[in-house]
Amino acid sequence: MAEVRFRVNGAETVVDTDPNTPLLWILREQLKLTGTKFGCGIAACGACTVHLDGTPIRSCSTPAFVAEGTDVTTIEGVSAEDGTQHKVQAAWIEHQVPQCGYCQSGQIMSAVALLRDNPNPTDADIDAAMRGNICRCGAYGRIRAAIKTAASA
C-alpha cells in the first residue's frame, strides 16, 4: 500500500492503495465517482475513458501510480463549476444520443478531448478519436452528428 496524490476534477486527492490498482477502481470504489464505467478491463472498449492531464486514457488499464501528481478529469467534472453543461453534453441531449447509456461517459470524454484539440474535426478525425469507444446500442450515427453540432456551437 502507498499514498497516491493527484487532483480529481480539480480537488486535491490522496488515496491509500496498492499503486498497481487501476485508476478505474480507485475512482469508482474509493472516490465513489461511478460515472466512469468498467467494460472490458483490457482497454478495448473505452467505457472507462477519463482525462489524465487532458489526455484521454483507459483508466481500467492505467495503474494508480501513473496518475501520481496529475490532473484527472472524469465525466463528473465535465460540466462547468456552475453546473452549465459542456457543449458536448448539450449536443448529446439535442441528438438524443444515449440509449442504454452505459458507454456514454467514455464516449463524451473522448469527444471532449477531440474537440479541445481539434475544434473542427473531419469524419476521419472523428473516426480516429472515437473508434476506441464501443457502443453496443449502435448510436454511432448520432455520436458523429452530435460531435459536429458541438463543434459548431
Binding site: 478495448a44 472498449c45 442504454c100 452505459y102 473508434r131
Partner: protein
C-alpha cells in the same frame, strides 16, 4: 374480497395525501403454468398499470418495464398522458418495483374498489392480445418488443383515458354541468360556458368516489397531441453527466466485492480448488466454492478479480470436453438427416413432393449461423444483502418479478421478504432476462452479514452466456420454367421463439417448414429478435438465390411473390426507392435487399457494400419500417438504427466457437464489435400504415444480415451461406 374470475378491470382509489390512483388490471384468460406459479392465491390478480394524480397536479405514470435504452419510460408516459390530456411538463414516471402492488396483488388491499362490471375493453380478450399483456406485464418482462404494443396500447392508454373520464365526471358533479359541456387540456378542466377552469387535482377526492368507467373512450389518431411526437427521453440527461445509476453503480454501507468464475465447459462442477496462491493476496476475505461456480470476495473488485485468476480449479467431466464447433454442426446435420420426412412440422400447406415432381428443376442450399454472445456494455452484476428473513437485490433485470420469485423459491423465504431494486440496465438484448446472475449474488451474500456486489469480468460475461443458438437450415425449392417457386421446403435445427419466425411472407402454394433438434450443452438464450435473427438470414438469403436462379433481381422477384400483401410491397418499395435501387454502382460495390416481418413490424432494408478494402464495408443502409404507428418517431428510429448496428456486428464479426467443450472467445479482442469507423450511414423511413401496433426494439435486426449477404453477392458473385461474413470473404482472398 371475492374471487376474481373476470379477465380485467379498472380500479381507482385514494392514496395518502389526496393522491388519486387509477389502475388497469388484467387477469390471464386461463392459467398458463408459468403464470400460475407466480401467483400464490386464487384471489390474486395481475395489476399492471397505474397512474397517480398528485395534489400539486403532477401526473405520474408507473411503468412496469425496465429501461435498457429503448426509451420505455418516455413512450409509456406519452401514451398515458395523451389519453389523459395531461400537461407534459408535469408528467413524471416511476418504475414499478417488483412488488405485488404493481404486479399481482388483490387490488382491494390497498385501493378502494371501483367498477364491479366487466369493462368493455377486455371483451375482446379472447383474441389473445390481452393474454399477452398479462404474461408480459404480470411477469414484468421487458423483451419481445412488447412495451408499446401491449403495455402501452392495452394498459397505459386505458389508464389515462379512464382517469380523465373520472375527473370529468367529478367536475361535472361539482360544477353541476353535464360532462359534455366540459373540455380538458394540459391537466386542466374547463367549463367554457361558465367561465370556470381548475386543475385536475381539485377533483381527485371527488373522482375517487365514482366508479371507474368500464370502457373508456380512446382517442383516434387525429386527436393525438403527444402520441406520434418525438418527445425527448426522460432518461437521457442523466446519461450525459455520470449520474445515471446502473446496477454496477449501486453503493451500500459495508459492501464488499465478489469476482466469480464459472466452469469452462458449461454444466461442469467443481471437484477441487487449489487456493494456495490466492489465499494470502491483498484484500482477499473469502474464497467460496459453490459447486457450479467459484467466488472470491475481497475489499475491492480488482483484488477479487486478481485473486480468482490465481485459483487452480479442477472441474468435473461432463462428457462434452471433446466437443468442438464442427462436432456441434455435425450433430445438427445428423439430426436434420434423421428427421427428413419426419421432422416436427411448423407449416405444412399443399403438397411439396408433388410440386417437386412436376417442377422444371429443384434448387437446394444449406445455411448455417454460429453461436452469439450478447455482450452488453455493462458486464453482468448484482448486489445482494441477506439479512434475517430478508433478501434485498439490486440489479438491472429484464424480468425483475420473476427473479424475485426465483429468489424466494431458491432460498426458501417468502416472496414478500424479497425486495428487488431494479436499476438501469447497461444493455439487455435478452441476456438480462436470464436469472442466473442475480441468484449467484444471493448465494454469495448468504455467507456474509453485509452486502456483496458481484461483478462478472468481461471474460465471464462472454463465456457464461446463454447464447443465440448456432443452427443449420436446409432449403429445397421446386421451380417452374420461369424460376418462380412452386414449393418451399425448409428443414432446420433449433426452434425457440417466436413460433412464426421460420414462416415466410411470400405466396408459395406448397410449403413444408419443419425442424429437428440436436442435443448439445450450449445453453439457449433469447438474443435480440430471438429466432428471427437466424431465420431472417436463412429465408431472405435463399429467396435471393431463387431470384438469381430466375434471372431476376432480388427486389423484383420479392415484389412478385408479395403481390398479395400491399403492406409488404409498400415497405419493400419504400426501401428500394430510398436506395435508388437499380442504379449502377461502382466496381467493387453491390446492393442487397431483404424484408422481414417480426414482432408486428415490417422492415425492409437495402445495403450498399464496398468490398474493395481488406474487409467488407457497409457504406449505407436504407431502411423502411412499418410499425403500424410510431408512438415516438425519433425513439423508434433510434431503436431501428440500434437494431441494424447490433445485427450488422453479428453478421460481420459475431462468432462464438466451441473448442474442447469450452467457449473460445473471451473479450472484445477476439469477439469484436462494430466501431464508429465501420458503422454505415443509416436512413430510416417510418411508414404509419395504421396496422396493429408493432414493436421497435427488435425488428431492425433480422433483415440486416441477409441484406448485407445479398449485397456481397451482387458485388462479388460469392453467395454467403454462413456467418460471420468477414470470415467468408477472408477465406476467399
Amino acid at each position: 374480497m371475492g374471487k376474481w374470475t373476470r379477465r380485467g378491470f379498472i380500479a381507482a382509489g385514494l392514496l395518502g395525501g389526496g393522491v388519486l390512483a387509477v389502475g388497469v388490471g388484467i387477469r390471464e384468460g386461463h392459467r398458463a403454468p408459468k403464470l400460475a406459479a407466480m401467483m400464490t392465491d386464487e384471489t390474486e390478480t395481475l395489476v399492471n398499470v397505474w397512474v397517480k394524480l398528485d395534489q400539486d397536479n403532477t401526473i405520474t405514470a408507473i411503468v412496469p418495464h425496465s429501461e435498457m435504452g429503448q426509451g420505455v419510460f418516455t413512450s409509456m408516459a406519452q401514451m398515458l398522458a395523451d389519453e389523459m390530456d395531461a400537461d407534459w411538463e408535469k408528467v413524471e414516471f416511476e418504475q414499478a418495483p417488483a412488488h405485488e402492488a404493481y404486479a399481482n396483488y388483490p387490488l382491494g388491499r390497498e385501493f378502494i374498489m371501483g367498477g364491479a362490471k366487466v369493462p368493455g375493453f377486455v371483451q375482446d380478450s379472447l383474441n389473445g392480445g390481452f393474454l399477452k399483456i398479462a404474461q408480459s406485464m404480470g411477469l414484468q418482462i421487458t423483451g419481445g418488443s412488447t412495451a408499446v404494443r401491449f403495455t402501452g396500447m392495452g394498459g397505459m392508454r386505458i389508464a389515462g383515458a379512464a382517469a380523465r373520464e373520472m375527473i370529468v365526471k367529478a367536475a361535472a358533479k361539482t360544477w353541476n354541468v353535464s360532462a359534455s359541456e366540459l373540455r380538458t387540456a394540459d391537466s386542466y378542466i374547463y367549463a367554457d360556458a361558465l367561465g370556470l377552469s381548475a386543475p385536475y387535482s381539485d377533483f381527485a377526492l371527488e373522482a375517487a368516489k365514482h366508479s371507474p368507467p368500464t370502457q373508456p373512450k380512446l382517442k383516434s389518431v387525429a386527436d393525438y397531441t403527444l402520441m406520434g411526437k418525438s418527445l425527448p427521453r426522460f432518461d437521457i440527461p442523466a446519461k450525459t453527466n455520470g449520474t445515471a445509476e446502473f446496477g454496477i453503480d449501486v453503493d451500500l454501507p459495508g459492501m464488499k466485492y465478489a469476482a466469480v468464475m464459472g466452469p469452462p465447459v458449461l454444466g461442469a462442477e467443481t471437484q477441487s480448488i487449489d487456493d494456495t496462491s490466492a489465499r494470502g493476496m491483498p484484500g482477499v476475505i473469502k474464497i467460496i466454492d459453490k459447486g457450479t461456480f467459484v467466488a472470491v470476495v475481497a475489499d475491492g473488485y480488482w483484488q477479487a478479480e486478481n485473486a480468482i485468476r490465481q485459483l487452480n480449479v479442477t472441474w468435473s467431466q461432463t462428457g462434452a470436453e471433446t466437443l468442438n464447433q464442427s462436432d456441434i454442426f455435425a450433430k445438427m446435420r445428423t439430426a436434420i438427416e434423421e428427421a427428413d420426412g419426419k421432422g416436427k412440422e411448423d407449416v405444412a400447406v399443399g403438397n411439396v413432393t408433388r410440386a417437386e415432381n412436376v417442377a422444371a428443376r429443384v434448387y437446394e442450399a444449406e445455411y448455417t449461423v454460429p453461436f452469439l454472445a450478447h455482450a452488453a456494455m455493462e458486464p453482468l452484476n448484482a448486489t445482494a444483502w441477506v439479512r434475517e428473513g430478508q433478501i434485498d437485490l439490486w440489479s438491472g433485470l429484464q424480468n425483475p418479478l420473476a427473479v424475485r420469485n426465483e429468489i424466494a423459491e431458491t432460498f426458501d423465504v417468502k416472496a414478500k421478504n424479497v425486495t428487488v431494486h431494479n436499476v438501469l440496465l447497461g444493455g439487455g438484448f435478452g441476456r438480462r432476462a436470464m436469472p442466473d446472475y442475480p441468484l449467484m449474488a444471493v448465494q454469495i451474500a448468504q455467507e456474509f452479514d453485509h452486502p456483496i456486489k458481484m461483478i462478472w469480468s468481461r471474460e465471464e460475461d462472454t463465456r457464461q452466456d446463454w447464447y443465440r443458438p448456432a443452427s443449420v437450415s436446409r432449403f429445397k425449392a421446386a421451380l417452374d420454367e420461369q424460376g418462380m417457386p412452386l414449393s418451399w421446403d425448409n428443414l432446420f435445427t433449433e426452434k425457440h421463439d417466436p413460433p412464426e419466425a421460420s414462416h415466410i411472407p411470400y405466396k408459395i402454394d406448397n410449403q413444408l417448414i419443419h425442424y429437428a433438434n440436436a442435443e448439445h450443452h450450449i445453453r439457449f438464450g433469447p438474443w435480440r429478435s430471438v429466432d428471427h435473427t437466424q431465420h431472417g438470414f436463412f429465408i431472405e438469403s435463399f429467396v435471393d438465390e431463387l431470384a438469381d436462379q430466375a434471372g431476376m433481381d432480388g427486389y423484383a422477384y420479392r415484389r412478385k411473390l408479395l403481390e398479395h400483401s400491399p403492406r409488404y410491397t409498400t415497405v419493400l418499395d419504400a426501401a428500394a426507392k430510398a436506395a435508388n435501387w437499380g442504379r449502377d454502382v461502382p466496381e467493387g460495390r453491390g446492393l442487397g435487399i431483404a424484408l422481414v416481418d417480426s414482432f408486428g413490424t415490417v422492415v425492409a432494408q437495402v445495403v450498399e457494400v464496398d468490398v474493395t478494402g481488406p474487409e467488407p464495408k457497409v457504406v449505407h443502409v436504407w431502411c423502411a419500417a412499418d410499425p403500424g404507428y410510431a408512438m415516438n418517431p425519433d425513439g423508434f428510429v433510434a431503436q431501428i438504427e440500434s437494431g441494424i448496428i447490433y445485427g450488422l456486428t453479428a453478421a460481420l464479426y459475431g462468432d462464438i466457437t466451441i473448442d474442447n467443450g469450452a467457449v473460445v472467445q473471451s473479450n472484445f479482442h477476439d469477439y469484436p464489435m462494430l466501431r464508429i469507423d465501420q458503422a454505415p450511414e443509416i436512413s430510416v423511413e417510418i411508414i404509419n400504415s395504421g396496422a396493429q401496433i408493432g414493436g421497435g426494439g427488435e425488428p431492425g435486426t433480422p433483415p440486416i444480415a441477409p441484406a448485407l449477404a445479398n449485397a456481397v453477392f451482387a458485388a462479388t458473385g460469392v453467395r454467403v451461406r454462413s456467418q460471420p461474413i468477414a470470415n467468408v470473404l477472408e477465406g476467399l482472398s
